[in-house]
């Protein structure tokens, strides 16, 4: 850890993923992978570090979330973390990565351009999905290991906004994937290098989920799959968590249809919200219905949380941002991530 700046200020904190350099963020579609990856990058960069945030699906999700014009295929600084620290971003494009790779190993960049025009590059990455993945994970692994002239690491951490849960194990299990493609040669070596990084303690694969049946199930399946493939499972980020506004006993009563209307009616009258008895009882009934639904929802969330906890990895709560995940919201999430010791 010699290269980390501000070491003194940071050693006091106990961080769950100390020593992890590659954070892979997966999860069911739409649960907040891009948002959480961005917030995690901010959190990891806080206090003077340098972090690279990568996206791999060519969708310009990072640009969107940071409110920037589309990012080129190039690492560039996009945000300053709380307390100093830089977040760089890279929007990876498999085609560009293949060209870069061709140049690196075969010195054929110019021809590469011609091939792109013919659609060959697209074709090659399409017929061999494993090739696409190894190029992408290769780029991340390279960034993890990169050092500057004085031998210091260029990035303290890399955060990858990764493919969704259903594809994550295959995506990272590169050697397996390219086994059919190449038994020897540069692709094979590249895959072995990637395996050396993603299967090591340098890497943690995190999952983003909501407290709902399907994303939770997918998270548990994904974790099992990673374990089978001997890939390092990270933490679970429970996203869009709503605050509990009612005391436990009230929720409990409401869940069992024993919610006390009369107290609510008195309260409504005291607040001047009911003109007359009939009205108060009507409003109270409608509100009681909302309480009951809230209680049932809370109960379901509790169940889902229990099954997540059974996976035996750290869970972190990220609040539902009332105004959606805008830039200010990202910093709020980063703060929550740091407070819970995930970064």
């Amino acid at each position: 850890m010699g290269s980390l700046r501000n070491v003194g200020a940071e050693t006091a904190r106990d961080i769950d993923w100390d020593g992890v350099r590659l954070h892979v963020v997966s999860g069911k579609g739409g649960t907040g992978k891009t948002t959480v990856a961005a917030a995690l990058a901010l959190a990891l960069a806080a206090g003077g570090r340098k972090v690279l945030l990568m996206e791999v699906e060519g969708r310009q999700g990072i640009a969107q979330i940071f409110d920037l014009p589309p990012l080129p295929y190039e690492e560039r600084k996009i945000a300053v973390a709380p307390g100093g620290g830089d977040v760089y971003a890279l929007a990876l494009d498999p085609e560009e990565a293949l060209l870069e790779y061709l140049e690196m190993f075969y010195g054929i960049k110019r021809m590469g351009k011609a091939l792109t025009k013919m659609g060959v590059v697209d074709f090659a990455t399409t017929i061999a999905p494993g090739l696409r993945d190894v190029l992408v994970t290769g780029k991340a692994s390279e960034a993890v290991r990169r050092r500057d002239k004085s031998g210091d690491r260029v990035y303290d951490a890399i955060v990858m906004d990764a493919p969704p849960t259903g594809r994550i194990a295959r995506f990272l299990n590169v050697t397996q994937e390219v086994a059919g493609l190449a038994r020897v040669g540069p692709v094979r070596n590249h895959a072995d290098m990637v395996r050396g990084v993603v299967a090591s303690p340098d890497t943690a694969v995190h999952f983003v989920t909501l407290l709902e049946e399907m994303p939770v199930q997918e998270t548990l399946d994904g974790i099992a799959e990673l374990r089978t493939a001997k890939l390092p499972v990270g933490g679970i980020f429970i996203n869009m968590v709503r605050p509990v506004v009612l005391p436990g006993p009230v929720l409990d009563a409401a869940y069992h249809n024993r919610f006390d209307h009369s107290e609510l009616m008195l309260g409504l009258k005291a607040a001047g919200l009911a003109d007359g008895k009939a009205d108060a009882s009507k409003v109270a009934e409608a509100l009681a219905q909302e309480v009951s639904e809230h209680a049932r929802r809370t109960e379901l969330e509790k169940r889902e949380r229990l099954s997540l906890e059974a996976a035996g990895v750290p869970c972190y709560d990220l609040p539902l941002l009332p105004d959606g995940a805008d830039l200010a919201g990202l910093y709020e999430l980063a703060e929550a991530i740091r407070k819970q010791g995930a970064a």
């Binding site: 579609g29 009230v250 609510l264 379901l300």
Partner: protein, 376 residues
């Protein structure tokens, strides 16, 4: 509602014998599978002989319909109420569907050659677009079988609803594409002059691909394509056929959306696209909408009252309930705005709302309730 959309009359669609196919589309996680299953059940309970084709349903929902294994054939759902109708349900198995096309069209030896080809295996299990293609293929099969008078189709989970329309064409284009032809059969390519040009490029291209992918991969592709060619005429053509089925008057597209910006925007794109393709749109289902029976008590008034009670240190419970209500009203207002936004762009598109249930929908009773809400 300042702008209100025409109401979507679900029962009129379900009861119309001319409705033969209902396609539920929409962006990821909005409730396509739930809606499809609920419609299938409702149609059956109103007397139709319906089959619902689901893609990746939640485990418990699948079990509730008696789907315990992925066997790619419709199973009869028991406990369907009402007289006369019946419901069958199935889960799509894309690899199996692909395998079956091959088996149906090739002699056993050739089929074996294709099925064991590594290139085929990766294509049939992981090419993006295969699932969509196979969903369409299965729909075509169910339709041709003539066994059901209504087919309700769920569409694969994907970020964009448009994938359902575009992906099959992508797979077709890929398999019938020029490049794959050049690579796999340089000697067969058309006219002489074209042949010459292409052939010059071919050396370089094949050389590069061999270098990066290895010679075996190219050989696998070559074998696959020539074996495939011999058995039936073009994937693209096949996709085109099903595509035309979707344009037929007996088809009704339902676009499912959540009342959120991204999902409504996707719904908007999709509605426009259907119009371009002359595909029959029945309407939009806005799913998981938050409503309140205490509409009259606004978010602002509710918050203010809560604050007041809190300041006085009285009626803690009521204050908390008022906060809960205020949050719900705020959410409802935001959802309302997203829907109005859509309606102002597409004022003639019929809409139905389904409230957000406090719990997941995972049994027939839940589906029945969703069906009822859809129709009301």
């Amino acid at each position: 509602m300042s702008r209100s959309a025409p109401a979507l009359d679900i029962d009129a669609i379900l009861d119309d014998d001319n409705t033969r196919i209902i396609v539920c589309c929409g962006s990821g996680g909005v409730g396509k599978t739930t809606t499809a299953a609920a419609l299938g059940l409702r149609a059956a309970e109103r007397g139709r002989s319906a089959v619902v084709l689901t893609v990746d349903p939640a485990k418990r929902l699948a079990q509730s319909m008696g789907l315990t294994e992925l066997d790619n054939t419709p199973r009869r759902v028991t406990d369907v109420n009402g007289a006369g109708g019946e419901l069958h349900a199935m889960m799509l198995d894309m690899k199996r569907t692909f395998d079956e096309i091959i088996e149906a069209h090739a002699d056993p030896e050739r089929a074996q050659q294709i099925l064991t080809n590594p290139f085929y295996q990766s294509l049939s299990s992981s090419f993006s677009g295969t699932q969509e293609y196979m969903a369409m293929e299965k729909l075509g099969q169910l339709r041709r079988s003539g066994d059901w008078d209504l087919i309700v189709v769920d569409t694969p989970p994907s970020r964009s609803a448009l994938d359902f329309l575009d992906a099959p064409e992508r797979l077709g284009r890929f398999l019938d594409g020029r490049l794959i032809r050049i690579l796999t059969a340089p000697a067969k390519v058309g006219g002489r002059s074209a042949f010459k040009v292409l052939n010059a490029g071919f050396g370089i291209v094949a050389g590069m691909l061999t270098k990066v992918l290895g010679a075996q991969v190219l050989k696998d592709i070559q074998m696959f394509v020539s074996a495939l060619d011999a058995v039936f005429g073009g994937f693209r053509q096949r996709a085109d056929q099903t595509y035309r089925l979707l344009q037929a008057p007996g088809t009704a597209f339902l676009v499912v959306a959540a009342p959120e910006r991204d999902a409504m925007r996707e719904a908007s794109y999709f509605v426009e696209r259907l119009a371009e393709e002359r595909m029959p749109l029945a309407g939009v289902v806005v799913n998981r909408v938050h409503l309140s029976r205490a509409q009259g008590l606004s978010a602002a008034r509710s918050s203010a009252a809560a604050e007041d009670l809190e300041a006085k240190g009285e009626h803690e419970l009521t204050a908390a309930v008022l906060r809960l209500h205020a949050a719900r009203m705020q959410l409802a207002a935001r959802e309302q705005r997203e829907q109005e936004h859509f309606t102002s762009a597409h004022p003639t598109v019929p809409m139905a709302q389904v409230p957000a249930m406090p719990e997941d929908v995972h049994d027939l009773a839940g589906l029945r309730q969703i069906g009822q809400l859809l129709a009301s």
